[in-house]
Assembly symmetry: C2
């Protein structure tokens, strides 16, 4: 499948690598590809080197990447989702499944982050309202990037991932993709308003990271 | 141990029964015992009948119950916690451990409930700030009443409970009590601000109840 991943951070890159490894045609999108190529991060990461190590991945603008993908992935930081999708353009967005794996984290008050949207609304709902022609499915936002694409790296995959969305067919498409990542326990929470629930798991997630000293943990729904 | 349980709802009664069964001297507190005795709920429940079925339990005012307990349990509905503890009086509160097992649920906008406090604050913190002489430990608020006191009723107890609080000795006291209930995987999240995390698990909990059709579920922290 042709997939467009919006966001070149660690989450976007990890998901892009896995999707390409699974044989999908993946483009990864950023606001300004030239600026992204010119940048070297504090830890020495360069996207030019990363792209040359992954020759089956291409870099594009948000608009190019959204046009490329039959399925889109929102892996921007939470506050970047709406601008990125606006830049995608309405033609590229129309009718497509958007797998939203981001969280509305607010670091403005320091650590640990709070949520910029929560309780009576969610980022998933905000995106769905702003772009009604997209079929938004919230998922994967309760685990670290590595576990998103390799759940079996923890406890042989014996933990749970959640999906929220208004469109049953879109959720089935996303669940099928999640199974190719190794997810077995996929719980459909209901419509996109249930994204409030999983986004609000972030505060306990962040505190647990301090306790476990590693982000390689997850929740198993025991029932 | 002498224990005072504030709140005569299903959570307060379930915890009181278990504590009495374990040999503790338990008083259960309400704002107005005469009114509580006179009431019969929509489902036919009468506290008079319940008390006669549990002769080792006594009913008192919030003040009497707080004075009785060496350890206190807040099992009021979230909005009732501060008034109940105000009625308890400062002498009864001083230096005592308060196990806060309630959630700040707001049903004013219908179902599912939202939270009346969240994100940058929590009910646990609110109680601790209002009553600095109490040693507040937030726990058990992520499971239904039956599982609070009988975790082995689900998956032989293979799921996780969290504790949050500023006082290490108080957390140790509460953890010891939890172990007598059957809890084995008890995770100390840190200070009372971490109650934000577990209270914010309620929105996903409520949606999961719709999915599972039973409140007999819980989360296992897989790490």
């Amino acid at each position: 499948m042709k997939i467009g991943v919006l966001g070149t951070g660690i989450v976007g890159r990890t998901v892009s690598e896995k999707l390409a490894e699974l044989g999908h045609e993946v483009q990864i999108g950023t606001r300004d590809p030239a600026a992204t190529r010119a940048r070297t991060s504090a830890d020495g990461f360069s996207i030019v080197e990363w792209l040359s190590a992954h020759p089956n991945l291409t870099l594009g603008t948000f608009a190019e990447t959204a046009a490329h993908g039959e399925l889109l992935v929102n892996a921007t930081v939470g506050s970047g989702a709406i601008p990125a999708l606006e830049q995608a353009g309405s033609t590229a967005r129309a009718g497509k499944v958007l797998m939203d794996i981001s969280n509305p984290l607010d670091f403005s008050q320091g650590m640990p982050p709070s949520l910029s949207i929560c309780n009576t609304d969610s980022l998933g709902e905000t995106i769905q309202r702003a772009f009604p022609a997209l079929r938004v499915v919230k998922t994967l936002n309760t685990v670290t990037a590595k576990l998103m694409v390799d759940p079996r790296a923890l406890s042989a995959g014996a933990h749970t991932i959640f999906v929220s969305g208004n469109d049953g067919e879109a959720k089935a498409t996303v669940a099928a993709l999640l199974r190719t990542f190794g997810w077995e326990d996929i719980v459909d929470l209901g419509d996109i308003t249930t994204a409030r629930g999983t986004e609000m798991m972030l505060p306990v997630w962040v505190r647990l990271w301090s306790v476990t000293k590693t982000p390689m943990f997850s929740f198993k729904l025991v029932r």
